[in-house]
Amino acid sequence: MKSFLAITVPALFSIALSHQAFALDGEPYIHDPSTVAFCEGKYYTFGTGGGGLISEDGWTWHSGAQRPGGGAAPDVLKIGDRYLMAYGATGGGLGGGHNGRILTMWNQTLDPKSPDFKFTEAVVVASSDGKEDCDAIDPSFLLDPTDGKLWLTYGTYFGFIRLVELDPKTGKHVEGNQPLNIAIDCEATDLIYRDGWYYLLGTHGTCCSGANSTYNIRVGRSRKVTGPYLDNLGNDMLKGGGKLVVSASDRHLGPGHFGRMVLGDDVEKFSCHYEADLDRSGRSVLDVRPLLWKDGWPVGGDNLKEGTYEIESVGTGYALELGVDFISMAGGMRGGFRGGGGGPVTPLPLPEISQVSSNWPNTDLGVRMIDYMLRPNQKWTITPVADAGGYLGSPYFKITVAGTDRALAATADGEVIAVAAFSNKPEQLWRVDQLTDGTYRIMPKVTPNSKEPLALVAVGYSTPTLAKFDPTSERGRWNFKTP
């Protein structure tokens, strides 16, 4: 997390505020990124101009990915044991207007240091002549899981978004297939499939104007890959419709170029760029965020933000707390059953951490779950840990009792405790992924003596433990609620 240490004083001040969001670490500078792809232990994304980014953990990104051909806005998809790359040559107003071409090419690997790294000769699979109502740029793949067909969408504001079928074995345009108009007034489309629906995501708004870019990601859906793609109001994307998925947030403006990643266990994420990250001089950066699904529609989720929360079990409704004596609130029932009398109405103070923590044993302590009662031992501070690495989209966090250094930790017997002081050991680092329903999965980076990843789950009603995450159960789902 080197960039946390190198950022400016004003930025450091803003990080001290509660619920601060972070973009990715390293140098995630890119425009028009392809869907993030995984290859031989590393993550890759490719952007306009020919280069791209590589990450070993999905959190810290550096330049280094390579793509020949120049041009703009590539996409990449693994088919079998090969990677198919598409990109737009010219078009989009680049180098002479809207006479664009989409080309595809294969590679055995995305690792430029591999001896197998060699792209095949690029072939044209779609084009526009500069006059027609289409601009062949911004390609994106869908390998249809229902029938194995390979589809490519492309286009910009200059006319229609179009759909063509490619041969998944060759990456070439299927002979005789005619491009089909499926949307207008958007660009950087991406076609995805889920539960009987095809979803066409497109980027609306203005690109390439830095912090004035109004890019935002919207969606329509259809039962057929050929459309019509309607939004939640019933409007066709061929008439400009589109339901919002992601817009500007925090200090990030202009999200665009959606790409979906299905990671399993009810975790989905999406890659995008922001036209401007205000904490990075307004430069265009990559981000990876959770993808949620609500009522059959994709919704942009949020990586967990630094801050202090109640951690509530979805399954039991009880709150995680440090196992120590609680402090009774002063007095009993006020005002009687009729709510009257009892003197003037005044605010009552909550117990402060400083009132109670000095009485806690200076040893490792157990954690448990119980009714949330606003108590100091029920409030947890989530803090990203510098130089501890991360996972796709987020850094590892420490989870400490608010106002203390007592940190949640995994034990060698698969239980969870709070150690007396955080010491940066891997079992004290936590991965928090937002699930597709908006709740969170909480996993230690390492559980000593365990070969498989474990997650924080509720056993019974009031006991937390570590176990394999079961996406069909609510026992491993948690809410982070503002206390």
């Binding site: 020919g50 703009a72 180098g95 002479g96 504001y157 690109c207 104007s209 008439k239």
Partner: protein
């Protein structure tokens, strides 16, 4: 990514990769034809399309504004720019097909046209007439004949980019900021279409972008009003 969508000034570092290539703001070899986007309006009254969109318009050739970005389309800038008088009787005249006005040093012609689409593709009008396509201001006028007084109807407009619209001389709809065209983007307050002729005027401005608009009237339930006709 479409550079010409909203800026003619490449500002990103990545774009310097293309610096050695020719950068053109205009389409190559414009077709110099209005087909298939427009046909000449006929003398027969024209009804809205199946979704109620008005397709018959008098369109003025574009007024050059030479904008290189839409980032400055604030409310006040758009209002000032679109309510500036560019030619005599701009807000009252009922032009005829072929009539000409002079704006600055340019002689501009009104064209009575039927759009073949639900939207009126002003970019294609300009390109088809071999006029400037980016950095332009368009004026549009039409008439709807209503068979009766229609109360509590609303004018529904989408435009690329900013625009202002008037019904019977009253300002009805404003689309400020850098807009993309989506049907029913901005809706007027309830208004009355009087029995007989009602005049709708619009002004659409765009820097880099594919200018167009779509206009229809909707009733209190949001359903399109289709028992209207247009004849000039």
């Amino acid at each position: 990514m479409s550079i010409l969508r909203k800026t003619l000034l490449p500002t990103l570092g990545a774009l310097t990769l293309f610096a050695a290539q020719t950068f053109s703001a205009e389409p190559e070899n414009p077709p110099h034809t209005l087909a298939p986007y427009f046909t000449p309006a006929t003398s027969s009254p024209k009804s809205p399309d199946k979704d109620g969109f008005l397709q018959r318009w008098l369109l003025l050739e574009p007024i050059k504004k030479n904008l290189r970005s839409n980032a400055g389309f604030t409310d006040s800038w758009v209002r000032t720019t679109l309510t500036t008088e560019y030619f005599p009787n701009q807000f009252t005249v009922m032009p005829k097909d072929g009539e000409k006005v002079t704006v600055a040093d340019d002689e501009l012609t009104w064209h009575a046209l039927d759009s073949s689409l639900f939207n009126v593709k002003l970019f294609r009008l300009a390109a088809g007439l071999n006029k400037q396509t980016y950095g332009v201001l368009f004026w549009a006028v039409t008439v709807v004949d209503s068979p009766r007084d229609m109360e509590n109807v609303r004018l529904a407009v989408g435009s690329n980019s900013a625009s202002m619209w008037w019904v019977n001389g009253q300002e009805a709809v404003d689309l400020f900021g850098d807009r993309r065209m989506v049907m029913d983007d901005v809706i007027s307050k309830r208004l009355t279409l009087k029995k007989g002729r009602n005049v709708i005027r619009g002004a659409v401005i765009n820097g880099p972008g594919m200018s167009d608009f779509c206009v229809r009237f909707i009733d209190e339930k949001g359903e399109p009003i289709k028992d209207l006709t247009t004849s000039f």
